[in-house]
Symmetry: C2
Subunit: 274 residues, 2 copies
Amino acid sequence: MLSEDDLVAAIAAVAGGEGAGVTVGIGDDAAVLAGGIVASTDILVDGVHFDSGRISVRDIGHRAAAASLSDMAAMGAEPVCLLAAFGLPEGFGGVRELAAGMTEHGVPLAGGDLSRSGRLLVSVTAIGRAERPVLRSGGRPGDLLVVTGRLGGQAAGGYTARVTPRLAEGRALAAVATAMLDLSDGIATDAGRLAAASGTGAVVELERLPRAPGATVEQAAAGGEDYELLAAVPEAARLPVPATVVGRLTGDGEVLLLDGEGRPRSLRGWDHFA
Amino acid sequence: MLSEDDLVAAIAAVAGGEGAGVTVGIGDDAAVLAGGIVASTDILVDGVHFDSGRISVRDIGHRAAAASLSDMAAMGAEPVCLLAAFGLPEGFGGVRELAAGMTEHGVPLAGGDLSRSGRLLVSVTAIGRAERPVLRSGGRPGDLLVVTGRLGGQAAGGYTARVTPRLAEGRALAAVATAMLDLSDGIATDAGRLAAASGTGAVVELERLPRAPGATVEQAAAGGEDYELLAAVPEAARLPVPATVVGRLTGDGEVLLLDGEGRPRSLRGWDHFA
């Protein structure tokens, strides 16, 4: 089975690449267009990303918007608006609640489309502006890896709690970060993505991961859906917001997760296609 | 059952409206953001907007991109990029073909996301720029209604042919049009939308509709999916591109479709929720 990263690579191969009005295309948290415009699309499907039997329709809207706004945070961007596409099962009556949940982040919903579909699904595009968009690819060997907030809370809580995209933190970190992304699939996967994009290796010390209440080390490392930020920052940089140092980028190509005794551990992140 | 327009109105009611960076929000062909940025999202679902048993995967990608690019055309905008979200059934192997079909319009695919889903579906966001975006709401009583191309071809052909978004025509018409939209649901529905947004009535003369080869008057008026442009232009304006005068905006609130003898006819457009 192809992984999600494999599929994205397959799309990128035919996508038409950068140039003209597109500064950064597929592969980062968001596309960067001429003039500092940043844009990102996410899709959330019932039974894959949420369970409509366990969270409210309003919370589904809130979560769907959070996923795209978190991409804005990861670029250090200020969101301007959201656009939404809804797939609605026969007889679904909650479209207003969905939209209301989306707008609770304070970013206006400026457009949308809807269709009947088998399962409930929401695709959200966020558009924002960034003076200096932070890519995944700028990390250098020796940079510290830092994370905002606490990890594993979603996994520990059964993925039912609301998440808050780290927009203010992302804009602040953009002043010092060499690379940044949001932790959608767990640091075990996402640190590898940042390192691969930057052409570096990475070491993450599992014991240093700031754990949410009730979360195990495994949930903090591989639980996914936390939407905290992972940034690479030069060792000499002063962190502009509270963040926890969890490792560093290295000069070889390896990505290592080290336990408390310094032994490598293997942990897979959350891959919707695995 | 709620119509698609009713559902869009329900969303618009909670969408957070205009202001800040959003000049025009939900209800037009695309949102207009500060700085002349124009953005629109469409969703196409297998069994609703296309039949994956009858058209190729590449053509599905082509059609999905055409729908969003047609919204750019309707605003008089130049597209900069596309973002796509794919919902893929178990075992679907055509994601590269889907993406390849999308990029055949010459607009790069700058971002995307994908998920498993029950049915194949594609949500496409187009982002563009327009110096003077043409809204649906600027029409005035007395303006002529004109359409590009020929209508009813998709309905007559079973919705299997490729469509070409009228990007060059849209940018040219933007110099004279007071209002514009793209004919996604058929002029019987879409002329009413333009008139409602402009606060006018409209008269469409069915015998004047330019019909595609093999299309009936009913297919030309209500078949949908043609993606030709409908523009309101002042009577004195010189048309910058070939287009057919099919009626005019009026001072009362009524929308009339007149047959060859000047008798009103009722024809419903294509409503995916009706």
